[in-house]
């Protein structure tokens, strides 16, 4: 696995193929499923991961979230980067090559 700190604002991520990410009506939440496991995500985490579609850059995600939550991009940016690092470390997402 690549160093989780090597992404930048132009990086693009997508959900790793082992995982299935989708909205689950019965839980009213986004869920991430993998062999023998399920992670239920909070609203912010779900909104970030749903944008990891291989097309959005990290910068795009920051701007979309700042609009969605009516927060300054400067407030959102470090939090998005931090969450993506965690996701990358867990193998949930992969850099789009």
């Amino acid at each position: 696995m690549a160093d989780s700190n090597n992404h930048n604002s132009r990086s693009r991520f997508r959900i790793a193929p082992v995982f299935m990410f989708r909205w689950e009506e019965s839980q009213q939440a986004y869920v991430l499923m993998y062999p023998e496991g399920i992670v239920k995500l909070n609203t912010t985490a779900g909104e970030i991961l749903t944008r990891c579609n291989g097309t959005n850059t990290v910068d795009d995600i920051v701007h979309q979230l700042s609009e969605l939550f009516s927060e300054q991009p400067e407030f959102i940016e470090p939090r998005v980067h931090q969450f993506l690092e965690v996701c990358h470390g867990k193998g949930w997402i992969q850099p789009q090559s």
């Binding site: 193929p17 082992v18 989708r22 019965s26 939440a29 062999p35 496991g37 399920i38 992670v39 193998g91």
Partner: protein, 377 residues
Amino acid sequence: MAKAGSNLNLDGQGNPVWLLLELTYKCPLKCAFCSNPTDLDDHQDELTTAEWKTVIQDARKMGAMQIGFSGGEPTLRKDLEELVAEANELGYYTNLITSGIGLTRKRLENLKKAGLRHIQLGFQSSDPQTAHWLAGVDCYEKKVNMAREIKALGFPMVLNMPISSLNIHQVPDIIDLAADIGVEYLELANVQYYNWALVNRDQLMPTREALETAEAQVAEARKQLGDKMTIFFVIPDYYEGRPKACMNGWGSIHLTIAPDGVVLPCSQARSLPGLDFPGVRDHDLNWIWHESESFNLYRGDNWMKEPCHSCSERELDFGGCRCQAMLLTGDAANADPACSKSPHHHIVQEAVTRALATKQDHKKLIARDVGWVPTKV
């Protein structure tokens, strides 16, 4: 297999999350540790394709998200691809739990097209002769070939290796084999003693020293392999002193459907005497889960006796396994005797002592001899 809890950070909010379909009890192997019932021939009236689809749809409506296609050997059902496609379209994460016997490149391709997400491949050993002893059939080469085909098609894969006295000394070789095949997850699951494995307990029980050696070997391999492969080492509860959080509690998140449509809190529950589990041919699945007596019997903690009822760990392990409590103490409401706090814990300790005093010899293994169907290996 009775699961030692599942990986999740959500609760089912009273609904099933995990659906396990035992499509058939038939199998081309005769594993001496098989978790299927020992009176298999009584339960051979399998659900039809249409009946299975109704189960898949009904459980999804109730909130189930993970589905496992198991058996016996699920690939013996020719409608497997059709059922996987149905589950995939409904949004399940689809898992196939197979011996690999009965799979072909063509079927794997069709399963991929049907939307199968993940395959758990059961293995017996890294050594062909040992594998033959444990499975009762010469199948090693076919399994390795299938494992490579599965990876060639890009499926994520768990290699599941039930661990017993016969193969525990092979752990480093097993890890090398899994790494060579390129699996993402290796599950070294110490055999749990139900059904056929209970019949063969004296022959299968490893020594504590062998377990400690294997654990050290796993720790070393984890360091070497880094995040290339995740190794799960499922501790045998007979040695652990703590009971497993079996199925995350009775009727909590797990729903198992037996080949004939009988609905169970876990695949071993059928071995509990005196319990009449309803089937989907006679009752609505939603009613069975929420209302039936059998699903409510050991739900929550009101049923618990001491020492469970006042135990600070009762919300962690739910009193362990009801089936094991019944099999070893004669009352499913007793604490699982694997727990060191159980007044029956000596039964487990005595079983270990007796097994280790037995001269272990593979020729004494009793093969699962019912429900076997010859298949070209």
